[in-house]
C-alpha cells in the first residue's frame, strides 16, 4: 500500500515526466525490429532537440524552418519498420498503439482505411486549451509500419509548413476537416 502511495506521489510530482512521452510503444511493436529489414528509431526529448537544433543553419531556409518548428517542442519520437514481405505485423500491434489515443485530449483528424492497397493512416491531434499540444501519426502500410509522436505546442500553420517544406502539399485545417468526413473504415 505504501509503495502504491509512493508511486502515486512520484507520478503526481513529475507531470513533466508523464507529459514528455505519454504514448508508449507496446513491447510487441518494439520487437518488430527483429523482423524488419530496416528500422528507423529516433528518440529526441527536449534537451536533445534544443541541442540538435543548435546545429541547424539559419542560412538554409529548410533548416531555419525546422529550427522554428522544433523550438517549442518537447519531444519527437519516431519508429519506422520496413519489412521484406507483407503481413509481418499484426492488426493487434497497430490497435495496441491506437488504443492509447482514446482519451478525450486526443482527437483523430484523419483516419483512412484503404482496401485498395491496404495502406491505413491515422493522424491524431492532442488539444489542450484549444491549442495543439501534440500529434501522432500511425501509418500501417503493407510492408511498412510507422509511428510518429511529436510532443509539444505545435501550431497548425507550423505543421502545414512542415508538410510543405519537403516538397509535400501543405495540410490546411480545411483539408483536415474534409479528411474526417471522408474517413473510410
Amino acid at each position: 500500500m505504501k509503495m502504491k502511495m509512493l508511486w502515486l506521489v512520484l507520478l503526481l510530482a513529475s507531470p513533466g515526466l508523464v507529459q514528455a512521452q505519454d504514448i508508449k510503444l507496446p513491447a510487441d511493436v518494439e520487437k518488430l525490429s527483429a523482423k524488419a529489414k530496416e528500422t528507423v528509431e529516433v528518440t529526441m526529448d527536449g534537451p536533445m532537440l534544443r541541442w540538435a537544433s543548435k546545429f541547424l543553419s539559419a542560412e538554409d531556409p529548410e533548416e531555419a524552418k525546422c529550427a522554428k518548428l522544433v523550438a517549442n517542442l518537447k519531444g519527437i519520437y519516431v519508429r519506422s519498420f520496413e519489412f521484406d514481405k507483407e503481413g509481418a505485423y499484426s492488426a493487434a500491434d497497430v490497435d495496441a498503439l491506437r488504443s492509447q489515443l482514446h482519451s478525450p485530449v486526443w482527437s483523430r483528424v484523419v483516419g483512412v482505411r484503404s482496401e485498395r492497397d491496404g495502406n491505413n493512416v491515422d493522424v491524431f491531434f492532442k488539444m489542450e486549451d484549444d491549442k495543439m499540444a501534440g500529434i501522432v501519426i500511425i501509418a500501417a502500410e503493407a510492408k511498412e509500419l510507422t509511428f510518429v509522436n511529436i510532443v509539444g505546442p505545435l501550431e497548425v500553420d507550423q505543421l502545414a509548413d512542415l508538410g510543405g517544406e519537403f516538397g509535400i502539399p501543405k495540410l490546411s485545417p480545411k483539408s483536415l476537416s474534409k479528411a474526417q468526413k471522408g474517413d473510410r473504415r
Partner: protein
C-alpha cells in the same frame, strides 16, 4: 702586617669568585644541539650552492631555457589539439543529432503526405460518384 692581611683577603676573595663550579645538567646537550644545527645549515647551503653552480655554465643555462621553451610550446600545442578534438567530436555528434532530427521530420512529413494523398483519393472518388449519379 696590614699589607699581608689585605693580600690574604684579596686572595680569598679571588678564590671564592674563581672557584670551579659544575655546569648545569642540560648544558652539554644544548651545546651539541647548537653545533649540529650549525653544521646542517652549512651543509645545506653548500649543497644548494653546488646544485645552482650547474647553471653558471652558459651552455647549461641555454639548454635549460630551450628545453623549457620547447616544453611550453609542446604543452600549448597539445592543449590546443585536445580542445580542437573535443570541439570536432561535439560538432560531429551535433551534426548526427541534426541529421536524426531532419530524418524524423522527413518521416513525419512523408506520412502526412500519405494521409493527404489518401484523403484526396477519397474526395476524388466521392466527387466522381456524385457526377455519375447526376
Amino acid at each position: 702586617m696590614s699589607v699581608d692581611n689585605d693580600m690574604n683577603r684579596t686572595e680569598d676573595a679571588l678564590k671564592r669568585v674563581l672557584r670551579r663550579q659544575p655546569a648545569p645538567d642540560s648544558f652539554a646537550d644544548r651545546v651539541l644541539a647548537r653545533v649540529a644545527e650549525r653544521n646542517s645549515a652549512e651543509s645545506g647551503r653548500g649543497h644548494r650552492d653546488s646544485w645552482w653552480c650547474v647553471f653558471v655554465q652558459p651552455l647549461v643555462r641555454w639548454a635549460t631555457a630551450t628545453a623549457l621553451a620547447v616544453a611550453l610550446v609542446a604543452g600549448g600545442l597539445h592543449y590546443r589539439q585536445v580542445q580542437y578534438d573535443k570541439a570536432e567530436r561535439e560538432r560531429a555528434q551535433g551534426e548526427a543529432a541534426k541529421q536524426r532530427l531532419m530524418l524524423a521530420l522527413r518521416i513525419a512529413s512523408s506520412k502526412l503526405q500519405l494521409a493527404k494523398s489518401k484523403v484526396n483519393e477519397i474526395n476524388a472518388d466521392q466527387a466522381g460518384n456524385r457526377e455519375e449519379k447526376e
